[in-house]
């Protein structure tokens, strides 16, 4: 038996990850503006990485017959981003949540594309830790 994916489900998860990626790109603009030059450079590197993913996600949606949705003009963070501490907190949160969305996409993807999604989840999780400085505490019982 081999793993299979439902095309509609993959499209739905792709849309989720694209939405999360658009939010991440926006968030890193806020983050970069509140960090020193070194931190801002890291934020802009992360933003570039997410932009690269965004292009790939849009292409995958088109291949599956969907229509990539346009990014929102702006996104409101769940808390005020007013200093370096809250900026790094936002960056870590965005990456952590996006890792979960990539994992969900891995589950909905065909075998050929699962590996990329799983590795993207790892990339986001690693980046989250670079911002938070600590490993996420995963509660498997929730």
């Amino acid at each position: 038996m081999t793993a299979s994916a439902v095309p509609g489900a993959e499209l739905e998860r792709l849309d989720d990850v694209l939405d999360g990626t658009d939010a991440a790109v926006y968030a890193y603009g806020l983050v970069a503006a509140r960090l020193d030059s070194e931190g801002a450079a890291r934020a802009l590197d992360a933003m570039a990485a997410h932009r690269g993913h965004r292009d790939v996600l849009r292409a995958r949606i088109l291949v599956l017959g969907g229509t990539p949705r346009a990014a929102a003009p702006a996104y409101t963070p769940p808390f005020e981003v007013e200093d370096p501490a809250t900026a790094t907190k936002l960056a870590a949160l965005v990456e952590d949540r996006l890792a979960g969305q990539w994992a969900a996409l891995a589950a909905a993807s065909t075998v050929q594309r699962r590996l990329d999604s799983a590795l993207s989840a790892q990339e986001c999780a690693t980046r989250s830790v670079t911002w938070s400085g600590k490993a996420p505490v995963w509660n498997g019982a929730t």
Partner: protein, 189 residues
């Protein structure tokens, strides 16, 4: 901060929903993509039994490794190492709830060859206690290496999963391993 509508705020919430911190892993009765999950994950009809056992063994080894490290470490590294070890226990429980990892690999192979057979009666296999370096730096490096190896394994194991929900959990476990490796790197001098 731009003046944004409530709709935008809600959209942010939707856009960044999910994640490692709040991943609903065990409560699902359907898979992540809407497909029905196996009625009995890890049960005799589960096509992922061998994979669950394989990952369960790997997570068990990590649990034992972290327990050994926790016994040797003190100071600021100890809480982090303890927390990561507990997380591997959660991964093991979510992926291998029936503790298939305690079966000998040959038993699972025999089982898969005999279609429709019930769970075999075998002696459980034990996880060997690893030998860790004496120094704190050496211990942290060993843990980091183990996490990096596990992250690579989980990525390929995710591809092999038949059940999409198992694939999602394994992908999350791999992300957790990658994050843990980074966290360990950051506390090592």
């Amino acid at each position: 901060m731009p003046n944004l509508s409530r709709r935008d705020a809600l959209r942010w919430s939707a856009a960044v929903g999910g994640g490692l911190l709040l991943a609903p892993v065990l409560a699902a009765c359907t898979s992540g993509d809407g497909q029905p999950a196996p009625t009995d994950p890890g049960g005799p009809e589960d096509p992922d039994r061998a994979l669950r056992a394989e990952i369960g063994r790997s997570e068990s080894e990590l649990v034992v490794l972290y327990a050994a490290a926790t016994a040797k470490l003190s100071g600021t590294a100890a809480p982090l190492v303890t927390g990561i070890g507990a997380r591997h226990q959660a991964y093991r429980q979510a992926i291998d709830p029936d503790q298939l990892a305690t079966l000998a690999p040959s038993a699972l192979a025999t089982e898969s060859a005999a279609s429709g057979s019930a769970s075999p009666s075998v002696s459980p296999t034990a996880t060997a206690v690893p030998t860790l370096p004496a120094s704190k730096d050496g211990i942290l490096a060993a843990l980091r290496d183990a996490e990096q190896s596990a992250a690579a394994e989980r990525a390929t194991q995710c591809v092999r999963a038949v059940d999409p929900e198992l694939a999602r959990i394994v992908a999350l476990a791999g992300a957790g391993c990658a994050g843990a490796a980074e966290a360990l790197t950051r506390i090592a001098p």
